[in-house]
């Protein structure tokens, strides 16, 4: 066979694992639907400011606290700002920051976990003790402490959340790495003279990838809650920035008179977190079909 | 010699979404009091299904389609579940392959064995612990008194299997069905367990149906051997007859694959075990049989009786009855 043809067949074969996983994922209607919803939210995060009907910062006290109407499909908040526009623009803050934090946290965490699990000994002990200490704190407390310490601004916020979340990845990665390292195919790789770094990235990482991705999707949900909670508490992103969490905070005082101000951003947050959890479940089932469903 | 078990034309099917699995078809054999009958067969031969059928443990999607299982004159297939429960664990008991799956890791082994007494005689398991220690002595567990209080993880594989065996002899059963009881054990431990089963047979007069994929093992322990292939009986004969004068081509091939000769190629039967959903018509071994003739793939092989022996093969037509 011609080399080009063979190359094509090979690359198709290599992709087959993911192609089939995607097919399995699509069969899960619920997960697929939520993926679609999350997709829309992401698009909004990118194009939000361009499609917002009103200026999200424009105050109009005359039309404050109006319930949803034709003019303002999601109503107005306590300062008369259009909630729909604020939601559309706020998406990039709430979602953007959480996603970046998740990715950063995962990168740090997985790297540390791989090293700890592969080399063991002193490195493993040191890393895991640090992780143990960090995991002893409730995430929100840690996030608050870090946020206060690192000060204002988006970078500080991203750092705070990444640092809060990386320990879970480290522990997970390290534990699985310990198991994978014992498998015969790793021994075979050593017999062939493959170097440690090569073994880590060529053999161990792909085999733990599915678990990490699933964990990351669950953690994306947590991240969003952390960003929103910090925003709600007045740390992290401050008003007038339309971050969904701080929108809930501002709307707190009007729960009886104008509940939509707090509830609508709350609904969007819930939907996003729920979406990540369900997509995470779907990913887990698609990537590792052997894990049987109990229900 | 008394017959303790008579199985006549036993047929068991499994109804799966892919189709009907004809796991057992027209299986017939006798079992005499105090004898060890070896049942030999590879995976897919139906040997485990046979064990479950005799114990009436076949569950959906499996179904016993037809046949009789006469135990001491009564047809087990016609009994009520309650009557069957009184027989199971008492008169007919079973030993399985992997003791780990059958021993609960959170309870002491003595308590688990005592449950057998509890189930049939009432009371609490504590009343029976001394009897359990006795049983442990019979099955040659070292330090029996202390081991009654041991947990499964504290025992070796061989010891765990002895615990299972003690459960099965608690009520001095008429029939013990052993389904691959030594496959997971080292060869020296296996030899000890085999000796133990022989001992039990001598002591209690129990009959044993010993199921294994290892025909060479059965040649050591059995009085008579039944060879199964793809859900049907191929041949039944005494140990010596099977070893020195096998009649069925499958038996011959099986023996050959188990024979090791110095510095020579290993033999394996060409082809593979047929699917039981769509088994070949006629003799199920015909596609792989070196001696097959035309009729073999067209008609089911007849039952040929030669004295005490039974062979299901077209090639022997004319011999015996």
């Amino acid at each position: 066979m011609e080399q080009q043809v063979i190359d094509k067949v090979l690359s198709n074969a290599r992709k087959r694992f993911y192609v089939e996983a995607w097919r399995r994922f699509r069969e899960n209607k619920l997960a697929f639907a939520f993926l679609f919803i999350l997709g829309i939210f992401f698009i909004i995060a990118i194009i939000g400011p361009y499609i917002a009907p009103y200026d999200p910062y424009k105050i109009n006290l005359a039309r404050a606290r109006e319930p949803p109407s034709l003019q303002h499909p999601l109503g107005t908040d306590e300062l008369g700002r259009d909630i729909l526009s604020r939601i559309l623009v706020g998406a990039r803050y709430t979602l953007g920051i959480s996603i970046v934090s998740v990715i950063l946290g995962a990168l740090i965490g997985v790297f540390l976990g791989l090293v700890a699990g592969f080399y063991r000994g002193l490195i493993d002990n040191v890393v895991m003790r640090i992780v143990d200490v960090m995991l002893a704190f409730p995430a929100i407390l840690l996030a608050i402490a870090l946020s206060t310490a690192l000060g204002q601004g988006f970078t500080s916020l991203i750092l705070a959340i990444s640092i809060t979340t990386f320990p879970v990845y480290t522990r997970l990665t390290r534990n699985i790495t310990l198991q994978v390292v014992e498998e015969d195919y790793i021994a075979a790789a050593k017999l062939l003279g493959e170097r440690s770094i090569h073994i880590m990235f060529r053999h161990i990482l792909p085999n733990i990838f599915s678990i990490i991705i699933v964990q990351a999707t669950y953690y994306a949900g947590l991240s969003i809650l952390l960003v929103s909670s910090l925003g709600f508490l007045g740390l992290g992103i401050k008003p007038p920035t339309p971050e969904w969490g701080s929108m809930i905070s501002s709307g707190r005082g009007y729960l009886l008179s104008a509940p939509h101000i707090a509830l609508i951003p709350g609904l969007f947050i819930s939907l996003t977190v729920l979406g990540f959890n369900i997509v995470g479940d779907g990913l887990r089932d698609a990537l590792d079909p052997r894990s049987k469903k109990i229900l | 010699m008394d017959k303790i078990l008579e199985v006549r034309n036993l047929t068991v099917h499994y109804y799966l979404p892919q189709g009907v699995v004809r796991a057992l078809e027209n299986v017939s054999f006798d079992l005499y009091k105090g004898e060890i009958l070896g049942v030999a067969g590879e995976s897919g031969s139906g040997k485990s299904t046979l064990a479950l059928a005799i114990m009436r443990l076949i569950q959906s999607p499996g179904k016993i389609i037809s046949g009789e299982i006469l135990f001491r004159g009564r047809d087990l297939l016609k009994l009520s579940e309650n009557e069957m429960r009184r027989i199971r664990g008492k008169m007919i008991t079973m030993i399985f392959q992997d003791p780990n799956s059958y021993l609960n890791p959170v309870y002491q082994v003595g308590a688990q064995v005592a449950e057998v007494y509890e189930a049939h005689n009432g009371g609490s398991y504590r009343d029976y612990l001394s009897r359990v220690a006795e049983l442990f002595k019979i099955v040659r567990i070292a330090d029996p008194q202390r081991r009654v209080y041991a947990y499964p993880h504290q025992l070796s594989g061989g010891m765990k299997q002895r615990v299972l065996i003690s459960m099965s002899i608690a009520h001095k059963p008429d029939l013990i069905i052993a389904d691959e009881p030594t496959s997971a054990l080292d060869v020296t431990i296996q030899a000890e367990i085999i000796d133990l089963l022989n001992d039990i047979r001598d002591r209690y007069g129990s009959s044993i149906i010993f199921i294994s994929h290892d025909l060479s093992l059965l040649l050591e322990i059995s009085d008579r051997i039944m060879i199964m292939y793809a859900g049907r009986v191929a041949e039944i004969g005494s140990r010596d007859e099977i070893k020195n004068d096998p009649k069925h081509p499958y038996t011959k091939a099986l023996l050959r694959s188990l024979t090791y000769e110095r510095k020579s190629k290993l033999y394996s039967i060409p082809g593979s075990i047929p699917s039981l959903i769509n088994p070949p018509s006629g003799c199920r071994f015909a596609p792989r049989c070196r001696e097959a003739i035309d009729i073999c793939s067209k008609q089911d092989p007849p039952k040929i009786s030669l004295g005490g022996r039974v062979v299901y093969c077209h090639l022997l037509r004319g011999e015996g009855q």
Binding site: Q3, D184, A188, H203, P206, N207 | A191, E220, L258, K263
Partner: protein, 321 residues
């Protein structure tokens, strides 16, 4: 000459922590010496806990011994301080027991073999590598389209063939086969072994064949080493050891085997297995086999026997001979 690979007094202890202050060791290999010649197949036989797998991994350079050395063509390549230098990496390759875990589940067969080929021959073009992969896969009896599959899409036997291909891809001189057919269906074993033996013969390789199956030892090995609890108790020409064993454990092993061997293999019911093997964590003082040996006496409880030559190419470690 039997000096292609020589292992001298290999010891490997694995620590188990009982409490913060107490540490016990599993004495997996406790002073084993073995030598392998060119074009020779040596069997390493023992039951679970004998240390044969650990010894195999030490010889392959996967585990560093706690003490002892391994020499390749007279040059010391392994000791407690370092393991195989890269230039000898390829000389010794291993094939593992479990086909499900010896191939990276995330890689297609082509890449598994390509990686192996590239690790030895740098600078090959993509098409050259693929060409070699396909040639290799044909040598082990598989078709070209197998290389585009993932391991889970292959059967156990096919996976083992791939494992063999991988081991051969770097042109080794010595193969260590660790129970390579134990996890396979009985019907498939012969094919895989015949294939391996043909390859070993054609390429003039040497092999250490680790197994618990005496039948296989009889069939394919030139010499055999019998291991018990971390020590080699008997070693020598296969025919001599199996027809005229000297060590009581070897006699017990042979008397407990049920495999059908053509030839005058030792068998004596007086040496039938008895007793449980002691734990490798706390082996008895003196001879390890004393707890089960029919010849045991006071001397055996205090002195450890060492291997000595009892006839040409036949070594035994026993005080009672």
């Amino acid at each position: 000459m039997s000096d292609l690979l020589v292992a001298v007094d290999i010891r490997k202890y694995f620590p188990i922590e009982i409490s913060l202050f107490k540490k016990l060791f599993v004495r997996a290999v406790d002073g084993a010496s073995i030598n392998l010649g060119e074009r020779e197949v040596i069997g390493l036989v023992g039951e679970s806990g004998s240390g044969k797998s650990t010894l195999g991994r030490i010889l392959a350079g996967l585990i560093r011994p706690d003490s002892g050395s391994v020499y390749f063509n007279g040059e010391e390549i392994i000791n407690s301080r370092r393991t195989i230098p890269s230039k000898y990496r390829y000389a010794i390759q291993m094939i593992f027991q479990n086909p499900d875990t010896s191939l990276d589940p995330r890689m297609i067969i082509h890449d598994i073999l390509a990686d192996a080929i590239r690790s030895r021959s740098k600078g090959l073009s993509r098409s050259e590598v693929t060409e070699r992969v396909i040639k290799l896969i044909r040598q082990v009896g598989l078709r070209e389209d197998h290389v585009y599959k993932y391991p889970h899409e292959l059967s156990g036997g096919e996976k083992q063939r791939v494992a063999i291909a991988r081991a051969l891809s770097v042109d080794p001189i010595i193969l260590i086969a660790d129970e390579i057919v134990s996890a396979l269906d009985v019907s498939v074993r012969a094919q895989i072994l015949n294939l391996l033996l043909e390859i070993v013969e054609n390429r003039g390789l040497s092999m250490i064949f680790i197994t618990h199956d005496i039948g296989l030892v009889w069939s394919i090995t030139d010499r055999v080493a019998v291991m018990y609890l971390g020590k080699i108790v008997e070693f020598g020409d296969t025919e001599k050891v199996l027809t005229n064993p000297m060590h009581p454990y070897t006699k017990m092993l042979l008397s407990s085997t049920t495999s059908i061997l053509i030839g005058k293999i030792f068998k004596d019911p007086r040496f039938r297995a008895r007793g449980e093997p002691p734990s490798p964590i706390d082996p008895p003082k003196g001879c390890r086999f004393s707890t089960r040996c029919p010849l045991v006496d006071k001397e055996c409880l205090f002195n450890e026997p060492i291997l000595r030559e009892v006839e040409n190419d036949h070594f035994v470690a026993c005080l009672k001979i």
